[in-house]
């Protein structure tokens, strides 16, 4: 009996045109973290596009385990996009493929029972995700990230968990290992109880009210950045102020939606995109600043995300035109170098994929680091290879995430630098977790934190 193949269907299908732009040259292979780790063709961008092509042309179906595994294993770091001579928009077809799989799984939910689908596979449905994964996805994508109040409350409870000693007990007892959460737990940042809550604050440009600001900018506070890394936000605001910027934190903004769009929940991502566009509209600012690489790349793609929504397409494009990564912005204006004090530090730079590949911002972060007197920038091997964090990847692909994290930290340590500089929360957590596991006394810092420290040292 031949089992009918489940084809791509409905909206958000991976574009055949994009798939066919790939000429199969293979130049992406060496830039792909999962190919570097496994050496497997199907774990390379070319191999994954070939799998999508096979589904697109009806040679395999969505039920293909290899297809499902590979769509999940991809980090969506988009290093391949940055090196693709033919300009294949890999991220777009990967995310669409994930939407297809997600839809097929969801329709699987309405199928009678899990056992039944395993015994007699239904042509239009995939075996649903395990119950705990579904519950987790529902809680995380559906609630936590959509409502920042909930998110902050959750973060607060995590901070309590860390401070109360329960964390110590959980780690020591091996209970985490038992439930497969040990590695994920190691990644938890030391959380501060305080959060950056955007309530329409306006921080004036340094120089007081007498000096008119050179620029007026608004900042995305986001989800995890506003809680776990609120100190980074504070540093970012101070650095912008020192550079003649008036900084606004408009209310009503939320999570950028990166985890949703990358995970196959495009509709959830669209909802958040609309919320953010509305929050930042009509402020009359020169730029919308974002200090997390992943959020920046997602926000710059709102136009693509809402392309088929006539009511929002134009508003999205206007929004996108103003989005600037903080490094991109600072390197593009006349940087206040006079105010920078000396930092006698050796630093190596870990390029976040969503900065280097998705936004092609590679020179600016280095230029900023090199602008700090006394700071010595040491390039690490494979600096543009993903660290394995990649959003929820730590949870969904723990083995690959761990081996890439180890590879990245090994490369970073080989430089002998005292500090690893980065610009993305996922990377920062991944690096810090791996360093802690190894017991290494090397700091992980955002570039804006180093700039902030240099301004303070003056």
């Amino acid at each position: 009996m031949t089992i009918p193949l489940i084809p791509f269907s409905g909206d958000d299908k991976p574009s055949s045109d994009i798939i066919n732009t790939c000429v199969h040259c293979g130049l992406c292979l060496s830039s792909c973290p999962t190919y570097r780790e496994t050496g497997l063709e199907m774990s390379s961008p070319r191999g994954r596009i070939y799998l999508m092509k096979a589904v697109d042309e009806g040679r395999i179906g969505l039920q293909s385990e290899v297809f499902q595994e590979q769509m999940s294993q991809c980090l969506n770091c988009r290093a391949c996009e940055a090196v693709c001579p033919s300009g294949v928009q890999y991220g777009a077809i990967l995310e669409a493929s994930r939407v297809q799989l997600e839809h097929a799984r969801q329709s699987g939910k309405i199928e009678p029972a899990e056992q039944a689908s395993a015994l007699s596979p239904q042509p239009s449905a995939l075996p649903p995700r395990p119950l705990w994964q579904r519950a987790l996805r529902g809680a995380v994508f559906g609630a936590l990230f959509k409502d920042m109040r909930l998110f902050r409350a959750f973060s607060g409870s995590m901070a309590l968990y860390q401070k109360s000693g329960v964390q110590w007990v959980a780690r020591k007892s091996g209970a985490l290992k038992l439930i497969g959460m040990a590695d994920t737990e190691m990644m938890l940042p030391p959380l501060s109880g305080a959060a950056t809550v955007p309530q329409g604050q306006i921080y004036p440009a340094v120089g007081g009210g007498l000096v008119s600001p050179r620029y007026s900018v608004a900042m995305l506070t986001g989800c995890i950045m506003s809680t776990a890394f609120s100190s980074v936000h504070e540093a970012t605001i101070r650095v912008l102020q020192k550079n003649g910027c008036e900084v606004l934190l408009p209310p009503g903004q939320g999570c950028c939606g990166a985890l949703h769009t990358h995970g196959g929940d495009l509709d959830g991502g669209r909802e958040l995109a609309r919320q953010n566009i509305a929050a930042f509209e009509g402020l009359g600012v020169d730029a919308i600043i974002v200090n997390a690489a992943g959020c920046g790349s997602t926000m710059k793609e709102y136009g693509h995300l809402l392309h088929d929504d006539p009511a929002w397409r134009g508003r999205a494009e206007a929004f996108v035109a103003k989005v600037k990564d903080v490094h991109e912005f600072l390197a593009g204006i006349e940087l206040n170098t006079a105010g920078l004090g000396r930092l006698e530090l050796s630093v190596t730079y870990q390029e976040p994929c969503h900065l280097a590949h998705a936004q092609r911002i590679t020179a600016q972060p280095r230029a900023l680091l090199n602008a700090i007197p006394g700071l010595e920038l040491r390039e690490m091997p494979e600096s543009s290879l993903c660290c394995g964090s990649a959003g929820v990847y730590n949870v969904t692909q723990p083995e690959m995430a761990a081996s890439l994290g180890a590879r990245k930290v090994g490369n970073a340590l080989s430089t002998g630098a005292q500090v690893i500089a980065t610009a993305n929360p996922g990377c920062a957590l991944q690096l810090a977790g791996e360093l802690r596991r190894r017991g290494e006394d090397v700091q992980v810092r955002y570039i804006v934190e180093l700039l902030d420290a240099a301004y303070a040292a003056r």
Binding site: V23, S30, G39, P85
Partner: protein, 903 residues
């Protein structure tokens, strides 16, 4: 030896050992057991991702994919495939565009993706050992901090592997100056059909025996599974200049290329991109070039020491202007240059922006035919109404028209092939070949008979059957789909046996077969062929000598503007020099008695000279040979173009084969423009160690001398020095030759003086003109194979880093026996010629003692009593059995120069 014996037994028993075929599950089980479960791919959907490489011509999935981690695992995979009766196909990164990595007949696909380790880097010996799956760009990233590079830079280098590069003898934009992959591979390790690991050599230069390394390179995975390679490393240049020259047409740009080469400049790269190629990468790489129809970009790069580099570039740009260049844009910063090269190397892969697919024609013609070829391409393009994108290694004459088409439209497919066919036909008519760097694979296999005669096909097939008797490795490639190489090889065997059996009894053994005999000297290749055929029928040995071929000494094809020449094998070196001098060109080979030695003899002996450091050796310059096979059949190996991957590189087999495989009747060579300036700087040293210390300093500097020769105990007669002729006896000295632009030579003069001073050595003495010639004649005299009755000539070769020690040993041994010892040693290349003088017993003792310690001590000449009976070619080669098999296949009756070589 045991391993070899085992393979011989297996070969004998093969017909009786028909394997019981395993089913796929069993094979996968065995592979998993051997490599671990994570190193075997068996899911059908996953296997399909391995059904094509970058060519997308045909697709065929393997039954299993194995990912060995090292050579031993790879060998185990082959043994499993052998016992299952399955083919083995190697895959690096799958970036080939001729279908070389497609498992046409299924079987086990061996991915080298997990064999990516650089096993050793030996900067002092300028070599590295790498696993086959090492990515070219990774190796170069590892080498750059050491100031070194692996020079071949195929456009795919950021993903493609060394194993893949060597299998297709890959080229690249910088191969104009640095040569193609084969010039940079010192030795190869591969798994043979019995599942054994075999090294083609140990990487020492001038090892005795046939050039198996040269044969393996470009064999497209059909000779075995390549697992490791020892590669040559080249110093990174001190300075690089890149200029983008824009021309109104691709024909004009091609004409400029031809003029630049003819004018005697040898740039690092001359790359052409037409308007379609510009369009494909202009935006993505921020080149900002005009894209109007016809607009053609010529990328010119020169490199070397900084001094004089701008002047060299200025001369080239003047030629460009003269040929109609309307805009010249320098790429000033290293970043800008890198961007230009990334863009250039991305063109073929960027075709996705213009069309869904392309058919790449990879043909090489003499450079002077480029304008003609480009006009033809234009004509075909219009005739068939198709878009063509031209991007090519113009300096090498390597055209790459990419015909853009949509594979879903059969009519477009037909037209694309019609254009390719038209280009190849004219190319062959113009002396071109059907692949310059991508290989034959599947894509070009049906074109092979256009270039090779039936006899030549048989010769290629004969070699194939030695390495691949069971069609184990990459079957169905290179030879046309309807051709069985075993049938061809059998036909060749029958051909040779036939004429011998028919006539052998009626025609008595004849003296004419000694080609040294002046009486029967053949006056043409046809006569030579008849003579060898007659010897063959008579069963008489053929002993080719230069003197015997003196009448075959004409210039066959000289293309001065193309820097190539084809001559009869009997032409002397002096005659060749004179011919080249008329056009301001040289063959940078300095050997003794140029009036006596012939080109054929030099090639057969693979003679080298001090300038191998800067120019390479005959192995690198021989483009094609005409050989007379054992039965008198005349075959042409290679073509008179500078790049060629059309079938196996059989000319490598004959270079240095000492007449034991056939008679070399004509030779086509790459030649060089005479440098604008030349100077030889002689630094007297207190001893060998000081001399080698200076040589190491030179190697570590950014200087690019063409020779660094250690000379000891050598008589140098300089006629015009001061008032009276003087004879010097150089006790111990380093002679450095600098050639090129006068400013570059000046830089060598200054910096060498500084290096010598820092070592506390006397200031270099500059020799030029007659003095310079006298010095190099003196060095060549040390290596002269004509010896006095009390002399022996020994060649000692070793890893360059070991040469000093080898010479110290040799000098100590000679001193102990009271022998005189003159030395001329390529101090940075690992080759030394030792001329020992003294009593016969002491000479024999010296050679014996040297041979006991050093693998590569060759007794090249000496008194009769010394040579008789003694092994003279150093330690036996690890792959001697393979060499014997080649000899037996090509010369089954053993009549070609018997006893003259290791085999």
């Amino acid at each position: 030896m045991l391993m070899i014996a085992r393979s011989a037994i297996i070969n004998m028993l093969r017909p009786y050992l028909a394997p019981t075929p395993m089913n796929s599950d069993t094979v996968i089980h065995h592979l998993r057991h051997a490599l671990g479960p994570q190193a075997v791919v068996s899911a059908p959907d996953a296997l399909r991702t391995y059904d094509a490489d970058a060519s997308m011509i045909v697709s065929h999935a393997p039954q299993a994919v194995a990912l060995p981690a090292d050579s031993a695992q790879a060998a185990e995979v082959v043994r499993i495939a052998v016992s299952a009766g399955l083919p083995v196909v190697a895959r690096g990164a799958g970036t080939g565009i001729a279908g070389g990595a497609i498992p046409l007949r299924g079987g086990v696909l061996v991915s080298t993706a997990r064999m990516g380790r650089v096993l050793s880097v030996e900067p002092a010996s300028r070599r590295a050992t790498v696993q086959a799956g090492t990515v070219n760009a990774d190796l170069n990233a590892r080498l750059a901090p050491l100031g070194l590079q692996f020079a071949p830079d195929p456009s795919s280098q950021r993903a493609s592997t060394i194993g893949g590069n060597l299998s297709t003898n890959a080229g690249g934009p910088h191969c104009l100056k640095y040569g193609v992959t084969t010039n940079h591979i010192l030795a190869v390790e591969f798994v043979n059909g019995a599942g054994e690991l075999v090294w083609t050599g140990d990487g020492a230069p001038e090892a005795a025996g046939y050039d198996l390394t040269g044969l393996l390179v470009g064999s497209e995975g059909t000779f075995g599974l390549v697992t490791q390679a020892m590669v040559r490393l080249t110093a990174l240049p001190e300075a690089v200049r890149v200029v983008l020259a824009l021309f109104p047409s691709v024909v004009a740009a091609s004409a400029a290329v031809s003029r630049i080469i003819a004018a005697g400049s040898l740039p690092t790269s001359l790359e052409v991109m037409d308007h379609n190629a510009i369009r494909s990468v202009n935006g993505a790489y921020g080149l900002g070039l005009p894209e109007a129809e016809g607009t053609t970009l010529l990328i010119v790069e020169v490199d070397g020491v900084a001094d004089g580099l701008d002047l060299i570039m200025a001369e080239i740009l003047e030629i460009c202007r003269g040929q109609g260049a309307f805009d010249l844009r320098p790429a000033r910063s290293a970043e800008e240059q890198a961007r230009v090269w990334t863009a250039r190397k991305s063109v073929a892969a960027a075709i996705g922006r213009l069309a869904p697919a392309y058919y790449l024609v990879d043909t090489v013609v003499p450079r002077t035919r480029l304008p003609l070829m480009m006009e033809h391409v234009e004509r075909l393009r219009h005739e068939h109404g198709m878009e063509v994108c031209n991007v090519f290694h113009a300096g090498d004459g390597n055209l790459h028209p990419l015909v853009l088409y949509d594979p879903r439209d059969p009519e477009q497919v037909r037209r694309a092939h019609a254009i390719a066919h038209g280009v190849l036909h004219l190319s062959i008519a113009q002396g071109g070949v059907i692949s310059g760097e991508h290989g034959i694979g599947v894509e070009k296999q049906d074109y092979l008979p256009l270039l090779l005669s039936p006899n030549e096909m048989q010769l290629h097939a004969a070699i194939y059957t030695i390495f691949n008797p069971d069609d184990r490795f990459n079957p169905g490639k290179i030879f046309p789909a309807d051709v069985n190489p075993h049938a061809l090889a059998a036909a060749r065997r029958a051909r040779i046996a036939d004429c011998r059996l028919q006539i052998a009894e009626t025609e008595p053994q004849s003296a004419i077969c000694n080609l040294q005999s002046a009486i029967e000297m053949p006056a043409s290749i046809e006569e030579l062929s008849q003579l060898v055929a007659a010897c063959h029928r008579a069963g008489a040995p053929v002993r080719p000598t230069g003197a015997g071929l003196r009448k075959i000494s004409g210039v066959l094809q000289y293309e001065p503007d193309d820097l190539t020449i084809g001559v009869g094998a009997g032409m002397t070196l002096a005659e060749l020099r004179a011919t080249l001098a008329e056009n301001g060109q040289i063959l940078p080979l300095d050997v003794a008695r140029p009036d006596d030695v012939t080109i054929g003899g030099l090639v057969a002996a693979a003679a080298d000279g001090p300038r191998r450091l800067g120019y390479g050796t005959l192995r690198d310059w021989v483009l094609a040979l005409t050989v007379v096979e054992a039965d008198g059949t005349v075959s042409r190996l290679g073509a008179q173009v500078v790049k060629n991957v059309t079938g196996y590189d059989l000319s490598k087999l004959f270079v240095g084969s000492r007449g034991t495989l056939g008679v070399i009747a004509s030779v086509s060579l790459k030649v060089f423009p005479r440098p604008k300036a030349s100077a030889t700087l002689l630094v007297a040293c207190p001893g060998r160690d000081a001399a080698f210390a200076l040589a190491a300093d030179i190697a570590a500097s950014k200087l690019q001398p063409t020779a660094v020769e250690y000379i000891a105990d050598c008589r140098l007669q300089i006629a015009d020095l001061g008032a009276q002729p003087a004879i010097y006896n150089l006790q111990s000295a380093i002679a450095v030759r600098a050639e090129g632009h006068p400013a570059a030579v000046g830089r060598h003069r200054r910096e060498l003086a500084e290096l010598a001073e820092r070592r506390g050595l006397a200031a270099p003495r500059e020799l030029s003109g007659g003095e310079e010639d006298a010095l190099w004649d003196a060095a060549a005299a040390v290596a002269d194979t004509a010896t006095a009755p009390d002399e022996a000539l020994i060649r000692l070769s070793a890893a360059p880093a070991e040469l000093r020690e080898a010479l110290a040993h040799a000098e100590a041994l000679a001193g102990r026996r009271g022998l005189g010892l003159s030395v001329s040693a390529r101090a940075l290349s690992g080759v030394a010629y030792l001329r020992a003088r003294g009593a016969l017993a002491d000479l024999a003792g010296l050679y014996g003692d040297l041979g006991a310690r050093w693998r590569h001590a060759h007794l090249l000449a000496g008194p009769d009593g010394l040579l008789a009976g003694a092994p003279t070619w150093g330690a036996p080669h690890a792959a001697l059995a393979l060499m014997r098999a080649i000899k037996a296949e090509l010369d089954p009756y053993g009549t070609m120069n018997p006893g003259a070589y290791v085999v």
